[in-house]
């Protein structure tokens, strides 16, 4: 690991690069894994989502089986051909998989019947048999009646239910009420492609049935029973493909269907249909290329999320790099500051040292010499003190550890005294001023003084000899004080303008080789902020610089 130790500050660019490479590798790896996962998942889905399709597809049948068929019982045996026809019409219309309904208008009797089932004294036989369906011709609706039995023999369906009824009545425990499920199971027969249902008699009737089986009752009772056989066509079941992107084709096929040409290009699965359709299955087929689309549609959001995470990580890396960069610059600035500062201290200190040496080595001092050295010592001590004060004040203001004094100040007098003190120091400094709109206002005179001194000092420092001019203007604009310090100095380059208020920033040029710590303008900014105002700068190289300070106008 190579670290840039020249500045004493570690910039581990390699570390960052390693980090970026690593997360990139991780990103690509996870994309790969996600894709594989999607692929596997969709293949699994292909196998398991068929249950949903089956549920949706078989829904109308369940409704028919659970809600519509029991309705036959509601008629309590009172169905006749006309009513049954109406009933079956609604069935045929609503449930397309019902192809034909055979209605056995039947009777339970105490006397033997010719057609039907006779078990001891209990007899169960049809009075008439009708069939209904869209394809049933008008002349063959009635299949059987007492008068005309030739065209139809009481068939399988009737016997199946008949035997069930007889054995149920025979084994009926009249002391306890049979459950609804038990009743339903005994009064319905489910066989391939057909459901036969006999209306469930009331419990009281069942008790009489039981009696009828044992003996001939005096009143020879006759009970009406309605039996309906629903013929079902599995191919008419409307397939609901709830996953159209997963299953390319769904068909109903016989249970034995198993084509040999099912190549590797296709994914295939199947599920058996329930109840009367149990000889059939739902057959699902999708080509691999079709499945791919579904895989991508599943993979895409995962990839996007991964990309997002990757992007965030990259952003974090970038931000860390930027912070490192700034910190290293800062470090450099501080380093420079210390160098400058020591330099700044060095001059007065060496002057004091020389003066001290001279005083010590001289055998006697003339009065002139004494005054001269006294003055030098005094001045240089002042300089040091000033430097110390500046540093201290800056830290204080920055930490907000001093409080504002509120005093009334006259702007004119204040500027005049500033001008006076500076022209006294630098005789070639031409200063002018103007004040308009106000004069007296409340502020902290010490802080304001520092601000003025700093800006005046700067204007003098960064102006060519013979052109050291400063114009100060103070105006009241929209309830705020606007101060402008315009000089005719060397100006500031555009790229440096935004940095001039930063701590320890110095423009590298011949004017500030010494005696500058890069604190002046940063100090000014802190001052202005502290006083609740703001500072801006406008400048053109070689034409001059103008500082604009806006302060709140507080008046008594």
């Amino acid at each position: 690991m190579i670290a840039d130790k020249t500045s004493g500050y570690r910039k581990n660019f390699l570390l960052i690069i390693t980090f970026i490479v690593l997360i990139s590798v991780l990103f690509i790896l996870s994309l790969f894994l996600a894709f594989n996962f999607s692929n596997k998942y969709i293949e699994n889905e292909f196998g398991s989502a068929k249950v949903n399709v089956l549920e949706k597809t078989i829904g109308p049948y369940n409704d028919f089986f659970q809600n519509k068929i029991p309705e036959v019982s509601y008629y309590n045996g009172f169905l006749d051909s006309a009513t049954a026809s109406k009933f079956t019409d609604t069935v045929l219309l609503k449930y397309p998989f019902v192809s034909k309904v055979v209605f056995y208008d039947s009777e339970v009797k105490n006397e033997p019947v010719r057609d039907g089932i006779n078990a001891s004294h209990f007899s169960f036989g049809p009075k008439a048999i009708y069939q209904f369906g869209s394809l049933v011709p008008q002349d063959s609706i009635k299949l059987f009646s007492y008068d005309n039995t030739r065209s139809f023999s009481v068939g399988d369906d009737f016997n199946a239910i008949g035997f069930k009824l007889v054995s149920f009545v025979e084994s009926l425990d009249t002391a306890k009420a049979p459950s609804q499920d038990e009743l339903f199971a005994n009064f319905s027969a489910i066989r391939t492609n057909r459901i036969t249902y006999l209306n469930i008699p009331r419990r009281e009737d069942l008790k009489v049935y039981k009696e009828m089986m044992k003996r001939k009752l005096a009143s020879l009772p006759v009970y009406q029973q309605d039996m309906l056989t629903f013929q079902l066509d599995p191919y008419k079941i409307r397939i609901v493909n709830s996953r159209p992107l997963l299953y390319q084709r769904i068909r109903i096929e016989p249970l034995t269907y198993d084509p040999i040409d099912a190549s590797d290009n296709y994914l295939i699965t199947e599920i058996a249909l329930p109840g009367p359709f149990s000889d059939y299955k739902l057959y699902f087929q999708s080509s691999r290329s079709f499945i791919k689309k579904e895989v991508f549609s599943y993979f895409l959001p995962i990839a996007l999320i991964l990309l997002l995470v990757y992007a965030v990580l990259m952003l974090v890396a970038m931000l860390i790099y930027r912070n490192l960069n700034i910190n290293s610059k800062m470090f450099k600035l501080q380093y420079d500051f210390i160098t400058n500062f020591s330099h700044e201290f060095k001059t007065p200190v060496s002057v004091i040292k020389i003066a001290g040496n001279n005083i010590r080595s001289a055998s006697s001092l003339t009065e002139r010499e004494q005054k001269h050295y006294g003055k030098i010592l005094d001045e240089e001590a002042d300089k040091l003190n000033g430097l110390m004060n500046k540093l201290l004040a800056f830290t204080q203001i920055e930490n907000k550890s001093i409080s504002l004094n509120q005093e009334e100040v006259s702007m004119r007098e204040f500027i005049e005294s500033t001008i006076e003190s500076h022209t006294l120091k630098h005789s070639d400094f031409e200063m002018s001023y103007e004040v308009s709109g106000f004069d007296k206002f409340i502020t902290d005179p010490v802080l304001l003084g520092s601000l003025f001194d700093n800006l005046a000092e700067n204007a003098y420092k960064y102006s060519n000899p013979g052109n050291k001019k400063l114009h100060i203007s103070a105006r009241l604009v929209r309830g705020r004080i606007v101060l402008r310090f315009a000089d005719k100095g060397i100006g500031i380059a555009a790229q440096d303008l935004e940095h001039v208020f930063k701590k320890f920033f110095r423009i590298q040029n011949q004017y500030n080789q010494q005696g500058s710590v890069g604190l002046g303008l940063a100090f000014c900014k802190e001052l202005v902020n502290f006083m609740g105002g703001e500072i801006r700068v406008k400048s053109k190289v070689n034409r001059g610089t103008e500082f604009i300070i806006v302060l709140p106008y507080i008046n008594t």
């Binding site: 029991p70 309590n76 006749d80 009331r202």
Partner: protein, 638 residues
């Protein structure tokens, strides 16, 4: 009330009476409940003393007392006040009893519906009940509470054939039955005179009833008068000692019931004792001792006595003086018509039992029907009427909750059970309970209801779910127009056919109601007709006319039966039933509830433990009404 009607066919007077007794079978011992909401239980507590009777000699008072949810028979010597417990039964209590001599009583024990009757005889002094009949299949009922030769009792039983009742002489010493008159198959009712001689019979072919008469027990029955079931002809008693004419309540050739004297040899009306175009006679107070009717009770919006002679007016007028400002009913009396058990009631008071001794002109209070109920906390029941869309005037009752607010109230519409019954003026625990909960209760005697004449009754035939429903709807709209009802807070609740109407109204007019409740409601007219027990087969044709013929009116019956239309319900429903109730098809109701739940309709389903309409046991009633209260609160107090 199906079964009871089966026992006392045509005698709707008695049926109404039984209804009233039924509705007021409540009693509580905790007095002094706070104002405001009265506890559910206070309304529906079991009455702890019921069915007061007087022995034939007028010396002993008898009643059923509730002990551990079981009714036992007690007797009290009127003179000394000494109380004796006659029975101490376990498991099943006494359901009904009657005096057969000055010392002996016959009682029936509680039985599951549609099973046979268990009849016992007991001597009031000895205790030790003796079983007279316990055939699990056969029903048995006493025709005349008078012992013949001190050991025979005339009873009717369907023991030979479950569909018809024959008359037997029951030997009370050994319980043996001897056939007295064989039912040719069409006799629906047998009526004996006060000496226990079988002289009257009513034959029925399902639609038409024929009154048969014989002068002596050796003579054959001869048809006297034939009438359709749409008419009322209820024999009250024999007129005079000769026994050739009878008093009867009849509306043959009239719209309203009149009290007439009928000549049994010619079948002609001999005289009209009481008739008015506007008054409907529901009861005739027959004095067996004098063999004459003393007063008739006519019911318009309330029951009113009309005396038939000055003697009776003087006698019963004294009672009215003793018990003013209250309705009065004679519950029992002795043979000499000197000792009476009376019951009082008003719309706001369930009333009390009194013992009245005429020769001493002495009145003694026996018990309150329900001492938890304080009259001032109950609400007034006001008769109202409105005109239905086809111009027919429909009557009803409106009970407003207590409080100053008389407008925009939440309303519970309460259609009564049926067929052929009505709401009457009087204390009704259910109505008062709902009114106490802050609802205005609106009862409607929709067309087909009893008591408003023949035309009004037949106007309701085969109109279940059609004009009957429209009557209820018109009534509700009328109530909304009157600003009594808050249009957005109307619920409908009914029992039996009332439940059927409630469900029908909800299915067809969901915009009008926020919720509907059905208690043992009829959900399928086909099943309802099927539920008519075999021994009542003779009345089947009549029911086909009233309710609908399952062969010819299939479309109508299907259209109005809620079980076929679960898809038409979209608002909260409350459905309660007893799954073992043979009168309804529990499976169908459960199927309906299931289908509604599948469609995510909020349904509260409550399974009752016993009884058909009203739970027999106090806890059961409490559970039912608490659930109903909660349901109504959720939907009406928004």
């Amino acid at each position: 009330m199906l079964i009871f009607v089966a026992y006392l066919p045509g005698m709707r007077v008695l049926k109404n009476l039984f209804l009233l007794v039924c509705l007021s079978l409540f009693f509580a011992c905790k007095p002094g409940v706070k104002t405001g909401e009265i506890a559910v239980n206070d309304f529906f507590k079991s009455q702890d003393r019921a069915l007061y009777k007087v022995s034939p000699d007028g010396r002993t008072l008898s009643y059923l007392k509730l002990q551990d949810n079981l009714q036992n028979l007690f007797v009290e010597d009127i003179a000394s006040g000494k109380v004796t417990q006659v029975t101490s039964l376990e498991g099943r209590g006494v359901r009904f009893y009657l005096w057969v001599s000055k010392n002996e009583l016959i009682f029936y024990r509680d039985q599951p519906l549609h099973s046979g009757a268990e009849m016992y005889i007991v001597n009031k002094n000895e205790g030790k009940p003796r079983k007279l009949s316990g055939d699990p299949k056969a029903k048995i009922r006493v025709l005349e509470d008078q012992l013949i030769d001190n050991k025979f009792l005339l009873v009717a039983s369907n023991k030979r054939d479950s569909t018809v009742f024959d008359v037997y002489k029951l030997n009370i010493t050994n319980g043996s039955l001897a056939l007295a008159a064989k039912n040719p198959g069409n006799i629906a009712h047998w009526i004996a005179d006060s000496d226990g001689r079988l002289k009257l019979a009513i034959a029925s072919d399902g639609v038409n009833e024929t009154l048969l008469f014989r002068e002596s027990e050796n003579a054959p029955f001869k048809p006297v008068i034939k009438s359709s079931f749409k008419n009322t002809l209820v024999p009250i008693g024999f007129a005079g000692k000769k026994g050739l004419t009878i008093y009867a309540i009849s509306n043959i050739n009239r719209d309203k019931n009149a009290l007439i004297e009928l000549d049994m040899t010619t079948g002609k009306e001999k005289r009209v004792l009481f008739y008015s175009d506007t008054l409907n006679v529901v009861e005739g107070q027959y004095s067996m001792a004098k063999a004459q009717v003393e007063y008739v009770v006519a019911e318009t919006w309330k029951r009113q006595k009309h005396y038939l002679n000055a003697e009776a007016k003087a006698f019963y007028g004294k009672l009215d003086e003793l018990l003013p400002k209250t309705e009065l009913k004679i519950m029992a009396r002795d043979k000499n018509e000197n000792v009476f058990v009376l019951r009082t009631f008003t719309d706001r008071n369930p009333g009390s039992y009194y013992l009245y001794t005429a020769d001493q002109h002495k009145l003694k209070k026996l018990a309150d029907i329900n001492s938890s109920i304080r009259e001032e906390e109950m609400c007034e029941m006001k008769p109202v009427s409105f005109v239905a869309r086809d111009g027919l005037k429909v009557n009803g009752y409106l009970t407003l909750p207590q409080g100053s607010r008389k407008e925009k109230l939440p309303v519970v519409v309460l259609p009564h059970n049926g067929p052929r019954s009505r709401n009457g003026w009087g204390y009704d625990a259910e109505v008062q309970f709902l009114a106490n909960r802050g609802y205005a209760v609106f009862q409607i005697n929709y067309r087909g209801s009893d008591g408003y004449g023949k035309q009004f009754m037949t106007a309701g035939f085969k109109e279940w779910g059609k004009k009957i429903r429209e009557d209820v709807i018109d009534g509700v709209n009328w109530l909304v127009a009157k600003k009594v009802a808050d249009k957005k807070r109307i619920a409908i609740y009914g029992t039996g056919f009332g439940g059927f109407i409630a469900l029908n109204c909800m299915a067809d007019n969901p915009e009008l109601f926020v919720a509907a409740a059905s208690n043992s409601g009829v959900v399928n007219l086909f099943s309802y007709l099927k539920s008519i027990p075999p021994f009542w087969k003779t009345s089947l044709q009549m029911y086909y006319e009233i309710v609908g013929n399952p062969v010819t009116d299939v479309d109508y019956m299907r259209a109005v039966s809620p079980v076929f239309h679960s898809d038409r319900f979209n608002k909260p429903l409350f459905i309660a039933q007893n799954a073992k109730d043979p009168r309804v098809s529990p499976g169908e109701t459960i199927q309906l509830v299931k289908e509604l739940k599948k469609r995510n309709i909020p349904v509260t389903y409550l399974e009752k433990d016993e009884g058909s309409f009203l739970e027999k046991k106090e806890e059961g009633r409490k559970r039912f009404y608490a659930a109903l209260e909660q349901f109504l609160k959720e939907n009406l107090k928004k």
